[in-house]
Every structure is written in structure tokens, then in C-alpha cells.
């Protein structure tokens, strides 16, 4: 039986992304784009799961997983309240 082709999805940590364009420029399948200065998976169905975007991202802002593979605890993980903008901490 032929293996079902894997489908990949992207975990984006928008708060970490600095819009440097590295992942977008070097993606072999032009999956990613910048939208309002943040990374966005525009064509996720074309992703081949090479993970180069994940490995090259200097800000740990993007991860790629195969659907049904490893579960991911949270999109924005950690004990941080993401409802609070970072500027709010600088009084």
C-alpha cells in the first residue's frame, strides 16, 4: 500500500517573529510570506516538511510538524500571558 503523503502544519509564535524574511526567502516551496511584518504560511499544502525555516529562524518563531505526528502542547507556550503586550511591562 502506498504511503499517504504527509501533511504539514506550522506553529507560528507571532510575538517572537521579527519579520527578518529568512524563512520566507529560503523556503524551497515558497510556502511562507510576510504579512504585516510577521511570517504567515500562505500555501501550507505545498510544504514538504524540510524544516529549514524552523532551523534557520533566529527567533524560534516558527516550527513545522506533520499532521497527526507529535502533539504540540501550545501554540504560544510558556507561562506568559500573551494577552499583555510586551510594552506594558515597561512602565
Amino acid at each position: 500500500m502506498a504511503e499517504k503523503p504527509k501533511v504539514f502544519f506550522h506553529i507560528i509564535r507571532e510575538r517572537y517573529c521579527k519579520g527578518c524574511n529568512i524563512c520566507v526567502a529560503f523556503c524551497p516551496k515558497q510556502v511562507l510570506v510576510l504579512k504585516d511584518g510577521k511570517v504567515f504560511p500562505e500555501r501550507p499544502e505545498a510544504c514538504i516538511g524540510c524544516k529549514m525555516c524552523e532551523l534557520r529562524c533566529p527567533d524560534f518563531a516558527i516550527e513545522v510538524r506533520a499532521k497527526g505526528e507529535e502533539p504540540v502542547a501550545a501554540t504560544e507556550s510558556g507561562p506568559i500571558d500573551f494577552g499583555v503586550p510586551p510594552e506594558a511591562h515597561h512602565v
Partner: protein, 286 residues
Amino acid sequence: MGDTLSYFRQDMLPHIWCPGCGHGTATGALVRAIDRLHLDKNKVCIVSGIGCSSRAVGYLDFDTLHTAHGRALAFATGIKLARPELKVIVMTGDGDCTAIGGNHFIHAARRNIGITTIVMNNNIYGMTSGQYSPMTPKGFFGTTAPYGNVERNFDLCELAKSAGATYVARATSYHVPLLIDLIEKALLNPGFSVVEALVQCPTYMGRKNKIGGPVEMLNWIKEGTVNVKAAAALPPEKLKDKILIGELYNKQEGEYTADYDALIARVQRKYDKFQGGLYGCASNSD
């Protein structure tokens, strides 16, 4: 890979580095290598000096030490001697490691002490705004080299090799899978290991030399490097001005703290033969 973020102090993220700074990529590569080896977080100690690169330890959820400029290896040597069972990792910049810390680097390599050193080489002093470093290529610009650097090119990996390091490798923030593999192998080497990670500093190196932003810098790094395995088959004219990446040296030799422990055991045995043991012997020394 499991959850990358579990190795970070998430309350410190996002980090302070500029958009597209290669230090983040090199730090991510280290974390992934540690994850592959399933190292116990409590048995890893990461030490750094001063510089943008040295800020890495502030984001890593291990026991970490942010020390004085150029002195990371000196502190790391102390830690390794006191607690040889720990995995001691040094994260340092090209300025930190080759200029002010060059002496410590030579002696750590000479002793073959079990420390894994990751040199995040961006060819410039980033933190202090773009002065040239010993690793700035000839002819390149910096704030202290406004007419181009006149000093000759310097190969840190060659220095490491000749000073006595037992594992020497180089990769880049473009070739990340290779970088992870090499760091993994370096972590497994019992003696002194050096992995030079060529990374981009778009803010100073990129701007001062009109290379461009992060993407253009990564292309510049990609074009300037050749894998050692591929280089073996290439004619010398194609290798002109190219930097070799990959595993450059790997040889097993006696590790410093292991040899030191063996010496302590030998001396202890010798003195235990005296009546009253070591203390009796010491107090009867007149």
C-alpha cells in the same frame, strides 16, 4: 525534535538580538544538539563572556554563567576542574574569543580540557557598534576600519588545531543541519572541542560592508564556504578565498581533568602507604 522552547527561559523571550541576527540560529542549533543527546539539564553548565553572542546564556534554561569579556574559558576551566562530571559549554563571540580571550583559548586547547566551545563568529564587534575584530577579513570595513581592514585574515580553526584541541569543526547559520551535527559530535568529544559558527550580523557587518540584510548575508555566507568533503575533489583555483566547513579535525587524546584525577589518585596511593596516611605524613614533614 521535542519542544524547542522547553530549553529556553521563556519569560526572557523574545530575545534582544536584532532582526535576522545569526546568534539566534546558532543558539537554536546548540539546543537542538543537546536535545538529540538527551543531556540532563542539571548536568550542563553554559558559560559565556561579553558581547551580543554572549547574551545567549541569558535565554537558556540551564545553569549558566555570564562572565567578563574574554574570560568565559577561564571560568569554564574552573567549573570543569571542580565538577568534571558536568558538560561544560562555552558560547563566545569572535572578539570575545580571539582578541581579549585569545590567551585563554590557546591554553584551554593546549590542556585539552573537556569543554565544548561554540564561537559565534560574525566577523565584527557587534555589541560595541561595529569595530573590526581579529576575524574581520582583509579589506572589509568597520567603524574602526573606515578605509578597509589592513590586517591579514585569521583562521581560528587552524589555531585551535595547532594549540591542541581534539575536535575542530566549522559550519554556518545557513548550513544549520550541519551545524547541529557538528555540535552534537563536539559535545560527545571528551576533550577540548571547538565549533566555529559563521553567523550574520546584519546591523553592523552587513551595513558597514553593504552586503545587505539577513537574507543577502546568508547568501554571502553560502557562497563563501565549501564543504571539506567537496573541497577534496575541487581544483585549487575554485577554493581560492573559500572558507572550509565541516569536520576539520578529530583525534582522541587524554583529557585534562581525567588526567588530573588520575594524578590525584596516584599521589594519594603513594602517601596512604605511610603510617597515618596523608595527614600523618603531612604533619611529620619536618
